[in-house]
Subunit: 417 residues, 2 copies
């Protein structure tokens, strides 16, 4: 590298577009000409925009505000005000995928009116979709599309109406004699039954896999596993969740399942511990088998989930191998220790006979990723044969990890029932 | 009324819970003991609450904000700050039903993190559901429930993937030989294909009507009629829309259908005038007839909509009576003048033969309500026999008017095809 290039780099290092840390400069078109409105924006909204370097520019008209920040990717960035009261700023390059974010106006974190909203961290958050170069497995493509159905049913154990979303694969309505396997797919704490089909785009992922002949047509049932209110009212910002990994899913307030709203569900780990297990085993699965054309046996039934939903997969799945034959845990721990009391892992031959697919994944930036290879090795050494582990490159406790996890997991399902 | 009661009333008139207009008093539990968290709140959120007098209390923790207001029902109310930075305030009694609202923090109108979000006024707004005493036709009840299906399809005229929502009635999957009539139901400007099943609760309204034997089981197709971006970027608050009625749906910015987001649709009245008519007639209807078990003739096909969707119903429906036999216009004008050139109204006998149901409605507070009786009378005098008019008591250009309108409209449909 010669001196001229070094000088140019030094220029950019001090003058490149970014957030003002002291006096606000006048906002300008910071981004490259390849910048486009984010696909996650509300209809017709130009900002936020994302450019080819995966930098995002946020704008907000707020002439009477004292300070405007954007809280995204575990950081808060100050926006700069121009003389007309327009606040603007450009982030450093962001990790590709879906990011929750909030605008912080004079200390109050709120959703950006220009963005679509997504239920996360127990409230309606803004979301920013950062395109991932060369990675389009979750895009809406020119392939046959399944449907996502909003389905209401009454739960006796909860004495409440509950809502689930059910993905039916392309052709479901046209082939009245065909029956399908089912994966029960759970959200994380602070999210709900909407997460997998909105933030997760699981319907597009499966549409694409099925069109490519890489996954078997299947139903996906997305129900409410509780924990939606985990973060309600504790005032924690986005950064607290996104940087902390699943450890932040413990404790918190409002997790008891009381004061559940009309569309909410029961908690899992609070006062209502174990209720979701009962609901799933004794109500949801029989309801789904009676309502949809499923293949209603354990060989054609999988359970998976992210974060809290991964922990539920271990807790419920490992103790109900009469009901499930395939398990997926995304950023939610492992199958448990080999030495754990009463674990099915204690009998590897029997475990191999019962569990056709066991899948564990993490984002590479998550703490759990570090020990995953050793865990895998320990189970293989003990004679466990059907375990697949996956690390999502460069991602944290976030939806891009879970989209990729499902994309790796789905092709394994129901191949040798 | 004796003096003692007058004194008590005077006490309440000066001291009753309300918004501070000058110095902020310390917030307290202003509402009666019958106050409950709004059903529109996010999971686990206690505020806003609504009491039996239909007053709503809003709260926001914002210690460093200078001013916090709530913008609801065409008014902005100041919240009062306590010494810990909690802002709170109680509205006067609100009209029952669904209200968009925003919190205004130091002049910036944003969604309340404690509320579910709803797409309206071209952005994600907060919503407050105010219970309506004795009026439960749109509630989730213990009756059989249909499904709302998210359906994606490719449009050649728009060269884009589009999304619609399709309500299928209870029993649709179980009775494979049954075919159903269809109502195409359009949203208003600044809203989109989600409006009728979220804000409008049309699925619950139909579930309840069908269970009571008061409406024929039917499909409802909710597509994107354009206009979603009408209010994008114009900075107008909620009050500007809610107080102004449909006149505010004219003009505006961002209405050209360009820069449409991934899930958006084309405009109707801008540069893409008429494109939705083509999309509906030549793409959506054939796609629906090919995908669902419809009765694919004009006698079993209705078109209806609210506000801009009502105008579209007149423009598209009246010029396509070969396609539709029943029309519903909610807060969106009339069928047009009797003297209009080329109007089917010019031949009342033929109009009566073709149009089995023509339905026009307004909220009583809307300007259009005043002249509706005279319009009805003029058409009856001219020999039009199948016109039904309805005025929703005490409501404005808002969802409660349109829920009630659909509730009145649906039982008329497909009764004498």
């Amino acid at each position: 590298m010669n001196v001229k290039i070094l000088i140019v780099l030094a220029f950019f290092a001090t003058n490149c577009p970014g957030f003002a840390q002291t006096d606000p400069p006048a906002p300008a078109n910071y981004l490259g000409s390849d910048a486009r409105p984010a696909s996650s924006n509300a209809a017709g909204q130009q900002y936020p925009k994302v450019d080819g370097q995966q930098r995002a520019e946020f704008r907000l008209q707020a002439p009477t505000a004292q300070r405007v920040q954007v809280d995204i990717g575990a950081h808060k960035y100050d926006l700069a005000r121009d003389d007309k009261g327009l606040w603007a700023g450009v982030t450093p390059p962001l990790v590709a995928g879906f990011h929750y974010y909030a605008l912080v106006v004079d200390g109050v974190a709120m959703a950006d009116p220009a963005s679509e909203s997504f239920f996360g961290v127990s409230k309606m958050m803004s979301g920013l979709e950062v395109p991932s170069p060369g990675e389009d497995f979750y895009d809406l493509k020119a392939v046959p599309h399944g449907e996502v159905r909003e389905h209401w049913y009454y739960s006796n154990t909860n004495t409440a109406w509950r809502r689930c979303f059910v993905y039916t694969p392309p052709g479901y309505d046209e082939t009245a004699a065909t029956r399908y396997p089912v994966v029960y797919l759970q959200h994380g704490a602070g999210e709900d039954e909407r997460g997998w089909s909105t933030q997760g785009r699981v319907n597009f992922i499966l549409d694409n896999l099925i069109a490519a002949g890489r996954a078997r047509p299947m139903l996906v049932v997305m129900d409410n596993g509780g924990g939606s209110a985990l973060f309600a009212g504790n005032g924690r910002g986005v950064a607290g969740l996104m940087g902390g990994g699943i450890a932040t899913n413990r404790g918190g307030t409002g997790f008891s399942g009381t004061n559940a709203p009309r569309r909410g569900g029961p908690g899992l780990f609070g006062g209502a511990a174990g209720r979701f297990a009962d609901t799933l085993i004794h109500e949801i699965i029989p309801m789904i088998d009676a309502t949809y054309r499923t293949i209603p046996d354990r060989e054609h039934r999988a359970l998976a989930g992210l974060s809290m939903g991964g922990m539920q997969t271990r807790m419920i799945g490992m103790s109900h191998l009469e009901t499930f034959s395939e398990l997926g845990i995304f950023s939610g721990g492992t199958l448990g220790e080999l030495t754990a009391t009463n674990s099915p892992l204690a009998n590897p031959a029997e475990f191999n006979r019962l569990v056709k697919v066991a899948f564990i994944s993490y984002g590479s930036v998550e703490g759990g990723a570090k020990s995953l290879a050793a865990y895998h090795e320990a189970l293989v050494s003990a004679g466990i044969t059907n375990l697949t582990c996956y690390i999502s490159p460069g991602t944290a406790h976030e939806w891009q990890s879970w989209r990729r996890s499902f994309y790796q997991f789905a092709p394994l399902l129901f191949q040798n029932p």
